[in-house]
Amino acid sequence: MSGQSEHVTKDELWGGNRSPFSVSYGKMMMWFFLVSDALTFSGLLTAYGVIRHGSSDLWPVGEQVFEALPGLHGSYPLMYVALMTFILIISSVTMVLAVEAGHRMDKKGVVKWLGYTIIGGFIFLGSQAWEWSHFIHGSGGGFQINQPMTVAAADDAGNTYQITLDNGSWVHMTSDFGHKYEHAMEAAKEPVSHDAHGGHGEHATAETHEDISTMVPEEIILNKYTLEHKDGKDLRKLVVKGDDAKKIWASMQTGSMTFGASIWANNEYAIQQQYANFFFFVTGFHGFHVFTGVLINLIVWLMAVKGVFEARGHYEMIEKIGLYWHFVDLVWVFVFTFFYLI
């Protein structure tokens, strides 16, 4: 929208005294910054692709890892991240509407649409915080087994399979049992220390934990986050019950029990840590961009409210911060595809 309809000769265009790109210095520099920033993100996402293709272990599947909604039980694959994507797209739309209002010198319109953009940015940041928190805490936890064995497992449709597990195979607990076991583990770690802390004593006795040594899961889940298919059959999320579940439980590898994700140690999503490492780094780096974007938007919104741009005679600043905000949305489009879909 920057004077593209003017007709200038080549000599005039490149002869100095004007920008050959017909954009102001500030807008051009914003574009150049975004070019370099996009190269950074391209490098990160390509690195993710390299590690993922070079990984010898099964890689977690997006729609099996991210299937929770706040406050709800059950499986809602990709619904939460779809909502986050939608929020970011809508905040991009309100931003471009603020730019359009700026071109009409409509101060009220700019303040309104930029305000909605800021709200959308905050909602996205909050959603990402919840997503991280859920990812870190995990759902149920998992462990590795210390000997090969064959067990009977059933899928959702009720078909049963004989599955052979290798030594070191990764199996998962149901989220109900896993959370109970995690609490019991924590309670077993410090059985009397609660009483020493005065006020906590009452709390500790009121809460009864099961004896950790007698806890046995009724169900064990195979392939909870990864995929496995044989002969055209989908063998995701197979459930092992009864004696076979006890057999798996009894052969737990010492110290392999893991809950959620950590960048320091194993995580329940994959034996390989890289999955969580890349997830934290790339979505964190993107989240940092969203955070700075919201701050910049907030500053410019205050300037717009005060009438700085009205006095300046144009609202080009909205265009410049708009470029940055759309870029944040653009990066998320790629993060969404590579971390959640593919």
Binding site: S42, H229, G232, D234, F327, T337
Partner: protein
């Protein structure tokens, strides 16, 4: 040095203005793009949930479809929302050419390397 955003005459920002009638046209286009982006996102999520990776519908085709849909979304954001489609041709090239040249090469060489590493794992354990 003069601040370009304070220049009143010959300012590119001043050329970028339009009236209410033109604004109505632009907004119509923006809403159409919004609907398109939303629909593509819904299709992507539906595909991600619905298609199991069991070989009945080749997963590679789905993956390729995801990439194409992502690029379509990215193109609409860059060309319409960021107004790159309305800029001069030389600015378009300055912004887009680095990706066509360097990132395509980086992706090619990176994935080639990754696949080779995996083959190494398969052969040597």
């Amino acid at each position: 040095m003069e601040r370009d955003d304070l220049i009143v005459n010959e300012s590119y920002a001043l050329n970028a203005k339009h009236d209410e009638a033109a604004g109505k046209q632009i907004r119509k286009k923006l809403y159409a793009v919004t609907v398109l982006l939303t629909v593509i996102t819904i299709i992507e999520v539906f595909m991600g949930v619905a298609f199991k990776r069991n070989g009945t519908f080749t997963w590679e085709t789905i993956k390729l479809t995801f990439l194409v849909l992502t690029l379509v979304k990215a193109a609409y954001i860059v060309l319409i929302f960021m107004h790159l489609g309305d800029e001069r041709k030389n600015l378009k090239y300055v912004v887009l050419l680095p990706y066509v040249i360097f990132i395509m090469y980086l992706i090619f060489i990176g994935l080639y390397e990754g696949v080779s590493v995996q083959e190494g794992h398969n052969i040597f354990g």
